[in-house]
Amino acid sequence: MNVKKSVVNFIDTRLGIRDILEQNLTKYLLPRNVNVWYTLGAVLLTLFMIQFATGILLLIHYVPNPAEAFQSVEKIMNEVPFGWLLRTLHAVGANIIVIALLLHMLSVMFMASYKRPRELTWLSGFIILNLTFVLCLTGYLLPWSQLSFWATTVATDAAGAIPVIGDDLVRFLRGGSMVNEDTLGRFFALHVMGIPLLLGLLIGFHLFCVRRVGVSTPPFGPDYLPRELPDHFEHEEHHGGIPFFPNYVIKDTAVIFFFLAFFLAIVFFAQNLFFPESAFEPADPFVTPPGIKPEWYFLWAYQTLKIFPSELIGLGVQGAFMTFLALLPFIDRGTERRPFKRPLFMTCFVLGILLFVAISIWGHYS
């Protein structure tokens, strides 16, 4: 008996590992017509792992103190061997994650996979998206550059438009009236520990929901018919489907490699794509650089605040839109999932994407 087999036997005798692997890999069947959009979850899991690993490595040299933060990032970029690579992977990776998250959300909306019984999967995914935005915002301040400082000032200031508690909320977020060393302390703690812990738990819950309820059947092809749902819990089985391993894992891996190629192409050939000039100047609380803009994924929110005559109305519109998205499965309750049999939803879906892009471009050039 070889060593590998005896190790597996040793573990299997004690934990029944073969049975678990069989149930979740080779005997776990997915729909035969499962498409490339279903792989975005695995892509995101890989990207989050890269962020986690590069984040830990950056912590070795980063100093969370206004007097030293910028210099420590400069040291990582210019002196520490391969520090530039890890920092660029981390910074660019955050943007790629947002792209993958948005694509994942849009594909779930297009195929109406959020509908009953997957409301909790959708809701946990929506919270993951928002927590990722908070993770991006808190991480943005850490290099303590002009860009970090002023983007954080503008972002936290928006909370001041909330009636009654607005000013206190801004002070609480910043740990003072202005962005200062207390803000850096708070954002650092949230970025490296608070949010990753919460995000880890939520990703675990999201995966549990996916596995427990079963992968949804793509609503395409002549054989697809809306499924009648029972009142009790039922795992969606796919008899005659393809096994998760090895068939589907190969598909997952191919798309992961595609994303990694795109990611690394930016890291190596366009690494300043997400770094404007103000990212290379240390923070100066007395000088706001001209044309300060938030990251591309916050431009829609930034521009919305400017479109309306009062910030409060702008915040209200944003809040209403985000609440609508969060509660989508509870609002859109029909059983029909085929995109072309949902003309009203599809019209709103396409117009919504166009509006998001147009407002973001407007925000960029305004």
């Binding site: 002023w150 000032t153 503008v154 936290t156 200031d157 928006a158 001041g160 002070r171 609480f172 910043r174 740990g175 003072g176 009236s177 202005m178 200062n180 207390d182 708070r186 609380p285 007395f286 000088v287 706001t288 650089p289 001209p290 044309g291 300060i292 605040l305 400017k306 009062s310 910030e311």
Partner: protein, 143 residues
Amino acid sequence: MTTHVPPPERRKFLYIILGSVGAAFTALAVWPIWRYLLPGEKTGEDAKIPIARVDIQLGKAHFFNFRGQPAVVLQPSPGQFIAFSAVCTHLGCIIQWQPEKGEFLCPCHAGRFGTDGRVLGGPPPKPLDSLPATVVGDQVLVG
């Protein structure tokens, strides 16, 4: 041998006691955490900030740190000093002095303020916060 099973009332009583103690401990823990997270009261909150008169030239703006916030003091006419918070009332960016126009400009969204702090144009919803400035000898005291 038979195992003695305690009556359900005892278990219910234990649940209530443990639940209450747990809730009390949670409540006790929340207060110190809340206080820990609240922004601290800075010492010297009421102190006046002295600025040498020679640093404030006629028709020019002098930026300084006022209790942790950027502020600006002007001398629009000889011997007259006025001070404002330099934080734009729109989204919190720092205003810049435009000497050729004699007004302040916010670089974020082009908000404009006059030398009396009034909004001249752009999105700021209210004037700049005014700060009291008094002349004492060769110093201007702000605050």
